[in-house]
């Protein structure tokens, strides 16, 4: 972990990391990085859907060959929403007058017009990539940067569980919550599993890394738990799951704005479990997907609007952690007001993220060089109880990695509704 610098406490100078629409500072910055935007499983060949990411509308479709295409939301002819059109091969034909577009955005057919008119019409098109069950896109200008991979999640004996949820507040609240060990003893009081006791400010340290922030919690007995925040909106941690078959598991999180009042968390979970045990875990997790029929978002809203008390909610809910975080984060309002807050030493991690963001946004505004965030194999989460190295444990000649979607079914419907946006109100 080279190049670490201590980050001192202190409130962020600005809050311009909250708005992410086109043309905003934080929006420009986030668009410089590949972002997960959708689940591979949610888009079959031949289907087009509207998509809203960072307050911007798009058309996402999968050609008949399976190829993914991401383009402008509307036909340049008369402005009709392209997602209602027909996928023909890997092209997309507009529903209104049949103009047809290639995956690179070029118009190649205008049935009612002279053919020469076509050449002057082109949609914006964006690079996409499917990786570990998620669809990533590069929404920025110019050539896309190198696509960052996570080799730890690619070849090992075990499961990669794919998950996500919608949270109806500004993405930065969730991002701050990641480097906030002192909330766990309260927000997750009813279901702490990874450790007991309170994450006191004096035990917390946040240091800049090559990738973002290394966040360390030192237990009274000197043992460490280390989590990694990756700029601008990634989190890499390890936690002890409740499954008896599974030891510590590693998780990757991305927080991606839909707009400034709602965002998605996409996540991948590396579960080191093989053979019959793996099948058992998978079967159990699949079964849980239909266990709830009221989404945690609606329960949290009922709690925050005083309709029910959290103590009356069934604590065996599969999504209890999310429900609890919903309450804490949406409890700050859809967009938290940071002017009135009184941060303490417990907020060391929060302050660290804000400072990095502020520095980079300032550099962007002044056209100074931005830091090139890179994660190498040394930047990984660690925790007491996690013995041995992953490479030793997983150094199988022919490892078997199974991808499995574990989202609750009710979550899928809710998140697609949000991700699809509402271009009627453009």
């Amino acid at each position: 972990m080279a190049n670490v610098k201590p980050i001192s406490r202190g409130a962020a100078q600005t809050e311009n990391f909250l708005q992410t629409g086109p043309g905003t500072a934080a929006g420009d910055y986030l668009r410089r990085f590949w972002q997960p935007i959708y689940h591979s499983a949610d888009l079959v060949a031949g289907r087009a859907v509207p998509l809203k990411i960072m307050g911007e509308n798009f058309t996402l479709y999968r050609g008949e060959s399976g190829r993914l295409c991401l383009t402008d939301p509307r036909c340049p002819h008369r402005g009709t929403q392209l997602s209602s059109g027909w996928v023909e091969g890997d092209d997309l034909r507009c529903f209104y007058h049949g103009w047809k577009f290639a995956p690179d955005g070029h118009c190649n057919e205008q049935p009612a017009e002279d053919s020469s008119y076509c050449d002057r019409i082109k949609l914006n098109a964006y690079p996409t990539r499917e990786y570990l069950g998620l669809i990533f896109a590069y929404l920025g200008k110019g050539t896309a940067p190198r696509f960052p991979t996570y080799p730890e999640f690619e070849n090992f004996d075990g499961l990669v569980e794919i998950d996500s949820y919608l949270r109806e507040c500004n993405y930065f609240q969730n991002l701050e919550n990641a480097l906030d060990m002192s909330h766990v003893a309260f927000v997750h009081r009813d279901n702490m599993v990874s450790y007991s006791g309170i994450g006191r400010g004096a035990q917390l340290r946040a240091e800049e890394s090559d990738w973002g922030v290394t966040y360390t919690f030192t237990r009274n007995d000197g043992q460490l738990r280390i989590q990694q925040f990756g700029m601008p909106n990634i989190f890499y941690m390890t936690a002890l799951p409740t499954d008896p078959e599974v030891g510590w598991q590693e998780s990757l999180f991305w927080w991606v704005p839909i707009d400034d009042r709602a965002h998605m968390q996409f996540s991948l979970h590396r579960v080191s479990v093989a053979g019959a045990a793996a099948r058992e875990v998978e079967a159990r997790h699949q079964k849980r997907r239909t266990a709830i029929d009221v989404p945690h978002q609606r329960v949290a809203e009922d709690v925050l609007r005083g309709k029910i008390a959290l103590r009356d909610v069934d604590k065996s809910r599969v999504d209890l952690v999310r429900l609890q975080d919903d309450i804490a984060q949406l409890g700050q309002g859809r967009v938290a007001d940071r002017d009135a807050e009184r941060p303490g030493r417990g907020d060391t991690g929060v302050i660290a993220i804000r400072r990095l963001w502020s520095r980079e946004l300032a550099a962007l505004a002044e056209s100074r060089g931005l830091k090139d965030w890179i994660r190498d194999g040394s930047i990984v989460p660690k925790a007491w109880g996690l013995t041995g190295t992953r490479s030793a444990a997983d150094g199988n000649a022919a490892p078997h990695t199974a991808l499995t979607d574990i989202r609750p079914q009710i979550e899928i419907a809710l998140q697609l509704e949000a991700l699809h946006g509402n271009q009627l109100e453009h």
Copy 2:
């Protein structure tokens, strides 16, 4: 068809035909013409309802004698909504303190006041007329112009089918869609009946007529289809229905704004079918009225919001054409943004309407003379396959014309909700 002038292609200079509230240019212009506002069948004697047309609130009631009255929305005393009051004879009494108003708007009773105060109180009242099952009103200033009639629809052997629907977008999108032959092969791909093939721009012609625009499509074999647009918001066309008993039928359409984000289409359909065949057609159409229980507006919204694909919708829906047009027109957004569009030769008709509107609104703004649009018997729609003349076919000594409401029941509930507006949010 005297006085026709060619209309060249070119985008409209302004978009001020979109806003129709009181005091707007397009609103003032539309208010110079009689407009259909409600169905006769929806208002029984003794009932008062709130009404919203062109962003303006009214009270519509039918006196106990059957007389229709259209007045201001609120009592001048304390501002209570008059539609909650009592119809007494042909007068309307306010619910709050019992002030009573005559059909011409004069206050004739104030139970708690001295009688002299009455004389100083008067509601605005507007001329109305019932014609072929629809209620028309003149909402402009001064004396109402001559009421335009459609003799073709009055005395013939056959059915006049009365229909309407709510579309939740700006009225001008629908109006433009009328003179747009090149959308039919795509939007209505699954149900084309009147012709096959694509309406190419080079085959289309739009010429100014005494009434508005004559829109001609010339088939490759030289055959013509002619449709008539009547200023400012009327359409007269002929189409081949699916009923085996019926030949080409003629249709009249009006597009009337409820506000700038929703409008009504009122329509009359002249179906030349008599005797037992007429009864059969009517019975079949009546049966269809309860065939759907999810309105096309909600299905279209689901398609546009990516929840379902149109290909998965039952194509035998009685309102399939409307559903398809909903998608194309609402796909432009509730109020289409015309700044970004790239019109082609296929948009000849659209451009023609915009140019006439722009010219008339400019004349209105500069207090120059407005064209007096008049339809005589020569301005009728025509089509290949339509042989003979209507007068010969219908020249019966005692023709029998039956009026019949064919709106799906679910449509009625939806459109009344929109037409009644919401004066709570005034």
Copy 3:
């Protein structure tokens, strides 16, 4: 009734009594008086709820000892909504990081911080008092004034019925409606019980009292009905109920803004009925609480939006009076536009209230002395048919007074939803 001055007719100079949020003139004025804000029965020990009164958010909780506490809505640390926290003893602990606050607002625990930081953190806390089943609060600055009591409602043989409803319009519309005898013959046409005939303007008189306005209606036979309005938002009247066992009953009303578009009416009803008759009345009234399952607010909205006619509503509804007043008051719009109104002699009471309010708000703006409104035992409502004095009738050595909640169940759910506000949209 000393110090009465005649109030002449004339419209209010300003409408600044409509806005009651923090920092508004009317809001400042209303906050100088104790206001009922919640029902005692709706808050059990150990429960915290969000609360919105006059456009301002609060946390209301009842400590485990039964003590009521009213504080700021959000934690000063990171702004999370405090109502989601834990009641511990009579303290409240924040859900996010466990900061704990005493009933007086002082922070007494910050688990992740050094102890010295606590001393610098304090919530605003407001005086509360429970009285006759209602929770009152003083939301103004400085020391709370003397708590006004109503001895007539405290010790007598009979029932005190506790009631309330939500009305989704500005509170001032309801307040004006109190001193408006001429609406009764129309709005309540179907259920007049206290008198027949119309309250004509010439029969009405409104005089300033030590408490507010004394409103007198003189019948043609010279008999009087006197009602008392108490500044700034209280009403004290007597009415003849429909129960055969009960004579005239006295009622106290408070109209308290939730925000500028909705308010609560809290009320107490003094029912002079004892012994077996009291038990019978109470049983009958309790039974009525589940008699309706569509709230009057929704029925009124359906009437105002033209979906149904009032004549088609079941007139035996237990909340018919409220439904009728909903229609009349919401019929003015959520916030009535007083600029266009044409008041008459029938509006004498309305004008009287406006003039007092305008005078006091002007004095407040100019930092002049405000009148100290005081109700003594002489300021009581009276009516023909009400013979004898209350003291004689109720002068029992050991009177038995029973408090009973008579709100329809459906009303409770609706009003709590409104009272709890929505801090997500802060």
